[in-house]
Subunit: 357 residues, 2 copies
């Protein structure tokens, strides 16, 4: 079934209002989720709405957080999200980063005591609108094993770098540091299809193509898949995200990160508060005039788009292009949702006495 953007946006806002969010927070949180669906990242959009609500029911998400700066220099800050929705805590932190960048050239904010923040790209793109380079990372529930290990120690810990361009759309590198994002695994699970070797290992540390291996004690693999192909690099990137987001802010890190799913309890021996994010912004004109930078970005993009291709591929894909294509397509034809997600959303409507989709 396909829904128009405004329909899904209003529905989502109303659910956030129903759990007690302010009008402003409900609009912002809905915007982050809807933007994800618009950009074709279905796993991080309204499909997650019931997940946030269930964490609120368990009192693990605070709908009326008092988000505060707890430590600060002219260009750095640590923010405590007061257990709020990451969907509102991360934009709050990104605004601080951008204000600091406006004044001093760059701004960096590490966040603790937060929850799942949606897609990294949303937050990094806030900076791009102001001719800044945006950075956004977050740690997440432990599903990934380090190289040589079969223990789930890290989340899919995404990192995002977003760069403004001139005539071309921005370059947005938005990626899980695991070989495959959890969303891709869920698609294979629903379709009952095997996954490529190198995405996941079973509980004994052997490659498996079973998409359900996670539920049987397996773990996701870092980008690179195995040591020979650089999984220690994927592990290193994931570690970087974990340290910048959580060790630096005072959030939980590694295997202590509280799970996103409400049926699993957080560890009883936390090493910090909630989950952590890291957000940053640098003014382009802190380095060179904006028009010069954008002219060269356009040249960079058009040169890479015209690179020779193999296997009949039409062109090299610039990071951020597929999401933008989805956005164009869905703004015309609406957002498709699978039945399971529609049922899930309608159950939420029932639960709060709201109109169904």
């Amino acid at each position: 079934m396909t829904f128009s953007e405004p329909t899904l946006r209003t529905f989502t806002q109303n659910i956030f209002l129903a759990i007690g969010c302010s009008q402003q927070h409900a609009e912002l949180a809905a915007d982050v989720l809807i933007r994800s669906d618009m950009r074709g990242i279905d796993s991080h959009g309204v499909a997650r709405l019931s997940g946030y609500v269930r964490l609120w029911e368990k009192k693990r998400i605070n709908a009326t957080p008092d988000i505060q700066i707890v430590h600060e220099t002219p260009t750095t800050a640590t923010v405590d999200g007061d257990s709020g929705l990451g969907l509102v805590v991360a934009p709050f932190a990104m605004k601080i980063a951008m204000e600091k960048a406006e004044q001093y050239g760059s701004g960096w904010v590490s966040v603790r005591n937060s929850n799942h923040f949606g897609i990294s790209g949303y937050h990094a793109l806030m900076a791009v609108e102001r001719d800044m380079i945006g950075f956004a990372m977050t740690n997440a529930s432990p599903l990934v094993a380090p190289t040589f290990s079969n223990e789930r120690m890290l989340g899919t810990n995404p990192m995002c770098y977003a760069f403004p361009a001139g005539n071309f759309p921005p370059v947005v590198v938005d990626m899980a540091t695991s070989a495959a994002a959890n969303g891709k695994l869920e698609i294979a699970q629903r379709a009952g299809k095997p996954v490529p070797e190198g995405w996941i290992q079973d509980q004994d540390g052997n490659f498996t193509s079973d998409p359900h291996a996670l539920k049987k004690g397996g773990s996701l693999l870092p980008l690179g898949s195995d040591r020979e192909h650089g999984s220690h690099k994927g592990f290193g990137l994931s570690a970087t995200v974990d340290i910048l987001s959580a060790v630096l802010s005072g959030a939980n890190y590694g295997p202590w990160v509280p799970p996103f799913v409400s049926f699993l309890d957080p560890p009883t021996d936390p090493v910090g508060k909630g989950i952590g994010h890291f957000l940053g912004a640098m003014r382009v004109d802190g380095f060179r005039p904006v028009d010069e930078f954008k002219t060269h970005m356009d040249n960079w993009i058009s040169r890479f788009k015209s690179a020779k291709t193999v296997n009949g591929e039409p062109s090299v894909i610039i990071p951020g292009e597929p999401e933008l294509e989805a956005e164009k397509e869905r703004s015309k034809s609406g957002i498709p949702l699978v039945d399971a997600v529609v049922d899930d959303l309608n159950e939420l409507a029932d639960r709060f006495g709201l109109e169904k989709l």
Copy 2:
């Protein structure tokens, strides 16, 4: 053959003095190369010395550069390296980043008109000594093809993140954004051994295990190896390094990056000056007290070191551990060099009328 650190250091300094470097620059450039050998990264140490000299002979390296800040805000700067050795330009830029961080919490420097800067880890670790988090990246000669392409468009573009710890040594994530670093390929070439599939493709874009495929028109693959295993992520990371290092500073980017080898001429249609780097530093106490951070870093490290392992591996390897092990070992037993490198260095000694090794 094995040489003591002081012997190789003095030898290397003397070569840099012979090409006209100041005493200070010769000592610094030698320090970067020797540190690489000490850390076991043989491909980036004195094995490269003759490469730098040949670029100087071609007037592509300026032994007496006037390195300058050409653009600046309180926490950002662009540095022009005046075609100097990257080995001295990068530490110059890192010092600026650290001074800015000292005053404002963070500092970020993009560098143009430079040359190969040695190992990223050297520069990032400068920050760690001052209880800062260090960032170091550089672009490099095009050898890597983007996903879906068989054209060499990017260097192995390394990124390094370095974090101070307490009782444990620093965590240093120092990695090429390609599936395999060029140095590993060179080892396979010398040994005449096949390389794992997924490191390199032939000129038609097919995986090959031929270590000499690069010379036959092939290209290295981004981290992730193929689309299914996330090579678009390796491409995205490499693009990030290229943009931060070169589009931001006004250096050459993508296929315009001048080759490190002197027998290949730089493109005749440059889009900037020389190659580019990006260096950064953030004060840990810009986010939380240093002792708290270090206590949690130690906890992070010890928890990851004690993760369950597979295939009889003794433990998870913390990023930076192998380099530190090499440093300990080589400070006792010296630096081993293969015959080809010793011959190469002795030819340099002959060339400048210096004592051979």
